[in-house]
Symmetry: C2
Subunit: 128 residues, 2 copies
DNA sequence: TAACGTTAAAATGTTTGAGCCTCATGGAGT
DNA sequence: ACTCCATGAGGCTCAAACATTTTAACGTTA
């Protein structure tokens, strides 16, 4: 169920969504780590909460991402049909230092169990 | 000399360049027909002269196109190192009705010898 | 378990700034 | 003078960043 073709109207939206470094960084993290909540993205990217939320709503409205509510968090993830396209896009950006650093920061925070994802996993282990 | 990787800063610029239907249509025509001058693009796309000129300067400034002066015309073309990337982009848009129509209009005008390109070729045949 | 206060997560209301269009003008070449 | 193209100024729409408010989970106490 991948998207092989789209029209210029949608294309315009998609490119506009990617025409901002903040959103590029968000999409990159979502692409490499399945899903993140607003709070975790804030932490990794060092954004304000408002900025993070706005950009994710923007991405949701253009149809690039979706989210699910679990406990107190909203976990955003890239929509299935866009994975193909975005992976191709980020092929061109895979060497970028800023994106590489973002992923490192994510890994560190995850290892240190400082993310909401960790707490979520914890709860599931303890049976709740 | 194709571009396989670029950083987010340039990526942001490129995506911003493509985040406008007018510029998408221009790039599409340049991609399929090597080079066009402002006046011809005006004619094919039904843009005002100002609008056409502004978008092409925008594309030139972001590094997607370049141009050469010949006789009274400025012929714009897609830069060599961006061909690969743009061809991949437009693979997703190849079925779009508006883009297909644009190319048809171009073909018709070209066949009817109503474009600057035609006059250019004419001059070369007659030896200037 | 009902009620209160506290904190965390996310969304919304507002203003400033950027991008696109049009009209009009300017300049270079034939 | 005519053609082709570029640029300046003004108006309009949309998006980014600010601070603030809503929503909901949690803990304690009784």
């Amino acid at each position: 169920m991948r998207l092989k073709h789209f029209n210029v109207t949608f294309g315009e939206q998609v490119f506009k969504a990617m025409s901002d470094v903040s959103r590029i960084r968000v999409l990159h993290l979502l692409l490499r780590n399945k899903e993140l909540c607003i709070a975790d993205l804030e932490l990794v990217l060092d954004f304000t909460q408002t900025k993070t939320s706005r950009h994710l709503i923007y991405l949701k409205n253009t149809g690039l991402v979706s989210f699910r509510k679990q406990d107190q968090w909203a976990f955003y993830y890239i929509k299935d049909e866009m994975l193909d396209f975005l992976q191709q896009m980020f092929g061109y950006l895979e060497k970028d230092p800023l994106l590489l650093k973002d992923q490192e920061v994510y890994q560190t925070l995850f290892s240190n169990r400082e993310l909401a994802i960790n707490r979520l996993q914890q709860r599931h282990f303890t049976g709740l």
